[in-house]
Structures are given as C-alpha cells and as structure tokens.
C-alpha cells in the first residue's frame, strides 16, 4: 500500500494553480478537511486504544462509572493472567495460543507447499479450461463457513478428526489454498517466462528452471502470501469453535470468546488476551502492507 500512497503525492501543484482569490477558501477547506480526518481517525482508533487501556487497568478502574480515560493505575496483572494460571503453571489461554501457533503455522506451510507450484503451473502452462478452474478454486473460498462446517463435522466424526489439531489444519489449508493460488499466480505472472526459456536453452529441465531461477525470484511474494494465510488461520473462529472442544486442542479465538461465557466477565483479562492475540497480526500486516489490497481481496485485485 505504502508504494501507491507515496507515488501519488503530486496533487500539490494542481491546487497552486487555482486563482489567488480562491486560494484562501482552499486553505480554509483544507483545515476543515484535516479536522474531519482527525475526528474520523480518532473514532476509528478509539476502540483499539480503549482495548489497550482496559488491558492495563486495575479491575476497579475497568468497571469505574463514569469511565476513566486518563487517571488510572497501570497494572500488568491481566497480561500475567493470560499466560499464568491462578494456581501457577500454564493457563488455558496460553495453551490455546500455542495451539493457534501450531495450527496456523502448519496449515500455512501446507497451503504454501500445495498452492505455490499450482500457481506456477497455472501461470506457465496452457491448462484445459484454465479460467474455469481458477474461478472454481476461488469460489470454494467464498463458501459460508457455517454451511461447510456441517458436513465437515459429520465427515470428521466418521474419520476421528473431530477435536484434533490435524482436522483444523486440513480445513484451514483447504481454505488457504485458493487464496495462495490466486495471490501467487499474480506474482508468478510478474516473473517473465523468458527466464525459464533461457534456462532451458542452457540445458536445464523445466523443473530445474523453476527451482533455480523462478522460485528465488518468488520468495518475497511467497512470504507475503504466507503471511496473509497465517493471518486468516490465526483469526479464524467458526471452524475452530465447532470442530474442537477440549482445552488441549482449542485455538485462541474460541478460547478468548469462551472468557465471556460465565455470569461475570473479567473484561480486563479479555482485553489483555485480545491485545496479545491481535499484536502479532498487526505486526505481520504492517510487514506486508505493500500487498495489502491483493491480500484482503484474496488476490483478486492487484495494484
């Protein structure tokens, strides 16, 4: 994103050409626009700031009426509670975080290993009904999870994948493969096929040409794609809540959502867990900000 943002900074001179009489009005408008943007930014960011604030407040400040915005005592107790159980030892939440790391990580690796070669093949070779195949692949990604989970639930019950990490890994990989293929096909298309042709003239086989010349050029694209797949799996909730139940398997989203099940809700803990959960996503998203548009539209829109 940053690229397209930085590229187009030259609207300035255009405005300068407006007659002097209108320039003052322009400046007044400019101030108004900045004010409006600031207000919108505050509104958009307030919930996030409030979440961070709640996570470092003491309980009596969390529930203070009226709400305390500035003068509260800072504590890291909630963060401690996220990782350490009340009686010492690991908390259920920290186990869930570990599970999330395993499930999201392995499913991303699987989706990448399956998706990248397929994307290359779709980009380079003339495959029968290529367009239809690609459309079909992307359509599977649009299926409502709530609907897909019904037969998947029955299927997993038959084969004993209910309440296993493997089950989650497989379904997440299946949901990430279409994304990986579409996203990576864009990246492969950008690498000239002539590189491979030249390598093959030099005596390499097609496979070697792919492995030695194209693949190294694709590494940044693969990294960006994998990061998005990681974010999708990390954030996923519907499959996780219906296909897993035990604390040893459950990933972080259903575990965090489970915190509000009881009669009283420890909002400080919920906030701290949410912050811990969201932080890696924000860091990762920042790393791939250049590819954000392609990433969030499943590789369909590229700029």
């Amino acid at each position: 994103m940053a690229v397209s943002v930085d590229e187009a900074v030259s609207t300035g001179p255009v405005r300068d050409r407006t007659p002097a009489a209108r320039r003052f009005g322009g400046r007044g408008r400019s101030v108004l626009e900045i004010a409006l943007l600031t207000v919108l930014a505050v509104v958009m960011l307030f919930p996030v700031l409030w979440m961070i604030e709640t996570s470092i407040k003491e309980n009596r400040d969390v529930y203070a009426i009226p709400a305390k915005f500035f003068d509260f005592t800072v504590t890291l107790d909630h963060f401690k509670d996220v990782f350490v159980a009340s009686g010492g030892g690991r908390s259920t939440l920290s186990v869930a975080f570990l599970n999330s790391v395993v499930v999201a990580g392995v499913s991303t690796v699987l989706a990448t290993v399956l998706g990248v070669p397929a994307a290359w093949a779709y980009s380079r070779f003339s495959v029968k009904a290529k367009k239809d195949q690609l459309f079909f692949i992307l359509s599977t990604r649009f299926m409502p999870p709530v609907v897909v989970v019904i037969p998947i639930f029955l299927m997993y019950r038959q084969v004993g994948l209910i309440d296993t990490k493997l089950g989650l890994i497989l379904i997440y990989a299946a949901f990430n493969v279409p994304f990986t293929i579409w996203m990576m096909k864009g990246f492969v298309d950008e690498v000239p096929a002539e590189y491979e042709d030249a390598a093959m003239l030099d005596g390499y086989t097609r496979l070697q040409a792919f492995w030695k010349f194209t693949l190294p050029l694709l590494v940044p694209g693969i990294a960006a794609t994998a990061v998005f797949a990681l974010i999708f799996s990390w954030n996923e909730f519907v499959f996780a809540i219906f296909l897993t139940s035990s604390d040893t398997v459950r990933t972080a989203p259903p575990a965090i959502a489970g915190l509000i099940g009881g009669t009283t809700v420890d909002w400080g803990l919920v906030a701290a867990a949410s912050v811990v959960f969201a932080l890696p996503v924000l860091v990762f998203a920042y790393l791939v900000r250049k590819h954000l548009i392609a990433g969030v539209t499943l590789g369909a829109v590229r700029r």
Partner: protein, 316 residues
C-alpha cells in the same frame, strides 16, 4: 532425453553442458505432466475438503437425517427445501440479513470512500494515516466482537458512560430489539470501512493527474471534476469492493455469535446464524443441509457476479 538436440546447435558452447536438454516433443509432454503433478495435489485437497462435503450436504438435504438421533437417513426429496422456502421464520431471517447487508455495506462504502477521498487530497502523512485507518480491518472478528460488546455494555460500557457525561440517556445497545441490529451494523461498519477505504484509495491515486490539471485549466468546478473524472474512474474498483463486502457480510457469523447470539428474540438472527441453530442446536441435519445448500447457491451467484465483473475489469 537422448540424441542430438536442434535447440542447442545454435549454442555450441552449451553442448558440453552436463544436463542434456530435452527435445522439443518430450518437453511439451513433460510440461503437461508437470502441470498435472503441480496442480492436482491442491485440487485434491479442495475436492476432499470443499467439494465432497458440499456434495454430502446436498445428499443430506434430501433426507431427514439427524446427527444426534442417528439411525439411517430416509429420503424425503424436496420436503426440506419446501419447508424452508415457505417458512415465515426463514423469511424473517432473510429480511434481517438483507437489512444488515445493505445497511452495513452502504454505510461502509460512503464512509470508506469519504475517508479515502480526504486522504487522497493530503500531501503529507498519507502513509501514516492509511496505516492507522487500516488497523480495525486486520483484527479478528472475535476480538472486534468482544471489544464492542464491552464498549456497548449497558452498565460498564464506555459508550453509555460518554453519553452519560453528555447528559444523554443510557441505551441498552445489544439487548433492545430496535438497537441490536443497528449496533451490529455499526460494529461491522467500524471494522470494514477501512477495506473500502483501502480499495477506493488505490482507485483515487491511480487517476491520472493530467486529467485534473486539464480540468483546472478549464476552470472546472470541484464538484464537476469529482463527478466527471474521479467518480467514473474509481467506480469500477469500488464496485469490486462493494460486491466483495456484500458476500462477506452475507456469510457473517462470528460477530452475531459474540455480540448478540441472534437476540434479543430473533432480531439479529441472520441466515447464517439461523443455519447454525438449526444444525447444532436443533440437530435437524437434513433441514440444515438444505438451508446451507440454498445459501451456497446465493453465494455462488454473488461470486459469479463478482468474478465476471473482476474479469471484465482486468480485460479493460
């Protein structure tokens, strides 16, 4: 992979190469083999995890199977479908979903485009502004749902607290029929306005500068420039974003589950939440499957629309 190769005769230096290049014909053959070998694992996973389950759901949708009652499934043919399509309950959910999708997507589009337009007019700090605005979109729906639930809490929520200090009355956002759906729309808008903004911004920055320069030499008014240059050029991309959001909003489940669980009453029960209730609380697997298949059909139509349009856009 043997014998002299015509390709290398032009490059005598390469004859000594360790790997003899494949002759043209078998190269094409091995290309096809490579394509199959590279594509089929991915397709097999999709067939096993997406297509097969849906086919199974299709089969179940013609039966009276129940996941808990067990026993064998009896064919009831289209009974499930007629039951769903004629059910007043389902019609109500469809209406709720429609209000939600149209309301949320419309709000996001207007707000997102407005923010993008404002950002595109700034010369400084664009990168930072964009990054800040994008934060909500990257958060998990679980986190978003939980957090807004806390903020909208009637007793401890910060929203009511702020309303209170302004001297306004307290609102039971999530537990009143009239406000629950609105709250849902607001939360979804908060999360996904950045999505529209991001795409609209890409469209806005791609508008060639010389068009504006020409227009300003002609002393065209701001509104005229916006209407005749900006909007027509950004609209196609914006429509992509809108369609994409519409599909996502139609599938929405997480937010409803966490914020309201469909309540109060059934005022925020969208179609996908209702499917969940039929399948996992009512255990009418057959009916739920039929319901699911109908939803899949709608999604397929929307997706086709989206992809067709996308394709048209790419070809232009």
């Amino acid at each position: 992979m043997s014998g002299p190769v015509p390709l290398t005769t032009d490059h005598p230096g390469q004859v000594a190469s360790a790997t003899p290049p494949a002759p043209g014909r078998s190269r094409r053959l091995s290309d096809r083999w490579l394509a199959v070998a590279f594509i089929s694992p991915a397709l097999l996973l999709l067939l096993a995890m997406s297509v097969f389950p849906l086919l199974w759901a299709l089969y179940l949708s013609f039966t009276d199977y129940s996941a808990t009652r067990g026993g064998s499934a009896h064919f009831v043919w289209f009974e499930n479908y007629t039951a769903i399509l004629t059910s007043a309950q389902v019609h109500l959910r469809a209406l709720t979903t429609l209000i939600y999708v149209v309301g949320a997507v419309a709000l996001q589009t207007v707000l997102g485009f407005a923010i993008a337009y404002l950002i595109s007019r700034r010369t400084h700090g664009r990168g930072l502004l964009t990054t800040l605005f994008l934060v909500p979109m990257m958060l998990s729906q679980v986190v978003v749902g939980l957090f807004w639930k806390f903020m909208l809490d009637a007793q401890f929520g910060v929203i009511n607290s702020m309303l209170g200090s302004l001297g306004l009355g307290q609102v039971e956002w999530l537990t009143r029929q009239q406000t629950a759906l609105i709250s849902l729309i607001v939360v979804d808008t908060w999360q996904w306005t950045p999505f529209i903004m991001l795409i609209a911004l890409a469209g806005l920055t791609a508008v060639p500068k010389y068009l504006y320069e020409a227009a300003s030499i002609d002393r065209a008014s701001e509104w005229f420039r916006f209407r005749t240059i900006t909007l027509p050029l950004v609209w196609p991309l914006l429509l992509i974003a809108v369609l994409f959001r519409a599909i996502e909003a139609f599938r929405l489940f997480d937010l409803v589950y966490i914020l309201t669980s469909g309540g109060p009453g059934v005022s925020t029960e969208t179609l996908s939440f209702h499917v969940y209730k039929v399948a996992f609380l009512g255990f009418n697997t057959g009916t739920a499957s039929a319901y699911g298949i109908l939803m899949v059909l709608i999604v397929i139509v929307l997706t086709q629309l989206y992809l067709r349009y996308l394709n048209k856009l790419k070809e232009d």
